[in-house]
């Protein structure tokens, strides 16, 4: 008899009973629909123990990597601790280790905390109990810190506080990590990375992760911005390109001064650079409209939808 732990309750599964059926029998409410592993509404996450492979049919690589599974078709042989996906991510304390401006509007802030994360995921940084904003993680775990890129918005609620008030040594609460946009490509699979503005934060993290894990196939990185003066981390990126012959960088700005960036339409240029993306792993981060357009271009050029990972930055809206 297998035991499933959920929210401090232990549920013993009967023979042939799925995790979903067992939880429901114990009066635990779990979203569900088809009960046949198709609609995915009963998706949960295994916090301890491995979800069986056949309970992960149809999930994306990244969902599998985070131990997501479909509870209606999950018949575990060993004990599992599970939780629902809509339960809130845990809050942790973090210490501000370093702050530095990357350009005149974007600040990098480095935090230390004991959380485990994957570069490209995001977390919510809380000013107090009520005010928090989500930022993507631009560092990899081996670097020993969490780096976030904060765009200073003078009318913003949180960014002026982070940039001007928060000091090195201060403690802040962070919640997460969350999100499915992180590196897990096959080492020999070519990659297309595309970012606009501070969409570079998760893309930079994913790039460093790929290189650290020995990604050997070509990596094409397209970095976009409105004006070429808004680029940041340029030296760091160029150094990575010098060190890794498989990395090819393209900077594109709507308005470009100097030699670094092409002054072309980002989407048309991207489209003209590739004829077939069917083998590619694609990562795209930026505003919702940027992500939508690049996703569509990549998909129509043959990239499988399951091979496109996107992080859409949504403007903050009041609940």
């Amino acid at each position: 008899m297998t035991v499933v732990h959920y929210d401090r309750q232990a549920v013993s599964l009967n023979d042939d009973e799925s995790v979903l059926e067992g939880l429901i029998r114990h009066g635990i409410s779990v979203n569900h629909g088809c009960r046949s592993g198709v609609c995915q509404s009963c998706m949960m996450v295994a916090d301890h123990g491995d979800a069986p492979d056949n309970a992960q049919i149809g999930l994306t690589q990244n969902q599998k990597a985070l131990n997501y599974f479909l509870s209606c078709i999950c018949h575990p042989q060993k004990a599992l601790t599970v939780s629902s996906l809509d339960s809130e991510a845990l809050t942790h304390s973090a210490r501000v280790e370093q702050k530095r401006w990357l350009n005149d509007r974007v600040m990098a802030i480095r935090l230390s905390s004991d959380i485990t994360f994957k570069a490209g995921q995001y977390l919510t940084l809380w000013k107090d109990n009520r005010l928090g904003r989500s930022y993507s993680i631009a560092s990899i775990e081996d670097e020993g810190f969490i780096e976030l890129h904060i765009k200073h918005l003078s009318d913003g609620k949180l960014s002026p506080w982070i940039c001007n008030t928060l000091a090195e040594g201060d403690k802040v609460n962070i919640q997460g990590p969350m999100g499915l946009c992180f590196y897990n490509a096959n080492r020999a699979q070519p990659m297309l990375l595309a970012s606009m503005s501070t969409g570079l934060a998760p893309i930079y993290g994913i790039l460093k992760d790929a290189l650290a894990q020995g990604h050997s196939a070509p990596i094409h990185l397209f970095v976009g911005s409105q004006d070429s003066s808004e680029f940041y981390l340029v030296q760091e990126l160029l150094q990575l390109q010098d060190k890794h012959s498989n990395l090819q960088l393209t900077f594109i700005a709507k308005k470009s001064h100097g030699e670094l960036a092409l002054e072309v339409d980002f989407y048309r240029y991207l489209q003209s650079e590739f004829t077939d993306l069917s083998n590619y792993r694609v990562y795209v981060c930026g505003s919702a409209s940027f992500v939508g357009k690049v996703t569509k271009i990549s998909f129509l050029l043959g990239a499988a939808m399951g091979n496109i990972s996107a992080d859409r930055f949504l403007p903050f809206s009041k609940p």
Binding site: G33, C34, R35, S36, G37, V38, C39, Q40, I57, G58, A288, S289, V291, G292, T295, K296, F299, L300, A304, M305, A310, R312
Partner: protein
């Protein structure tokens, strides 16, 4: 054996299904269940996005959720497990003001997808029949009684 079936069998590590087994199976099981949906959904979604007659209904910023909808549609069309009711079909399509031309365009793209995957003609016929059975609900017209 069709190319499609052989792809699906390869994924599942299965040997060929015998004729005897086939006759007892639903369309969904016959063409390979969820793996069949996964093989078809990208091809189908690309086709509708390229089709000027209908792409306005499919072109959205959130392609991931649109992709999930296409997957649910194909699962239904292939006779797989789903919870669609006629009422759901009406409600979800009502605001789009669809006509017969739109319906036929979607069906054409579906048939083209299935042909590309070398699905046998009789199975394609069964799948089209499933689509036709929800046509009045999708187009939000009164069901004609014979």
């Amino acid at each position: 054996m069709s190319k499609f079936q052989s792809i699906v069998n390869k994924i599942l590590g299965k040997s060929e299904t015998t004729e005897e087994e086939k006759s007892d199976m639903s369309i969904y099981d016959k063409i390979g269940g969820e793996d069949a949906v996964n093989a078809a959904v990208d091809i189908f979604y690309r086709k509708v996005l390229m089709d000027e007659r209908i792409n306005e209904f499919f072109d959205t910023v959130d392609m991931e959720s649109q992709h999930a909808k296409q997957k649910a549609f194909l699962t239904m069309a292939f006779g797989g497990p789903n919870n669609y009711t006629g009422k759901d079909m009406r409600e979800s399509h009502k605001h789009m003001k669809l006509n017969e031309g739109h319906f036929n365009a979607v069906a054409e793209n579906l048939v083209a997808t299935l042909n590309e995957l070398e699905v046998p003609q009789d199975v394609i016929g069964d799948i089209v029949a499933v689509c036709v059975s929800v046509k009045d609900d999708v187009l939000n017209v009164e069901t004609e009684t014979a």
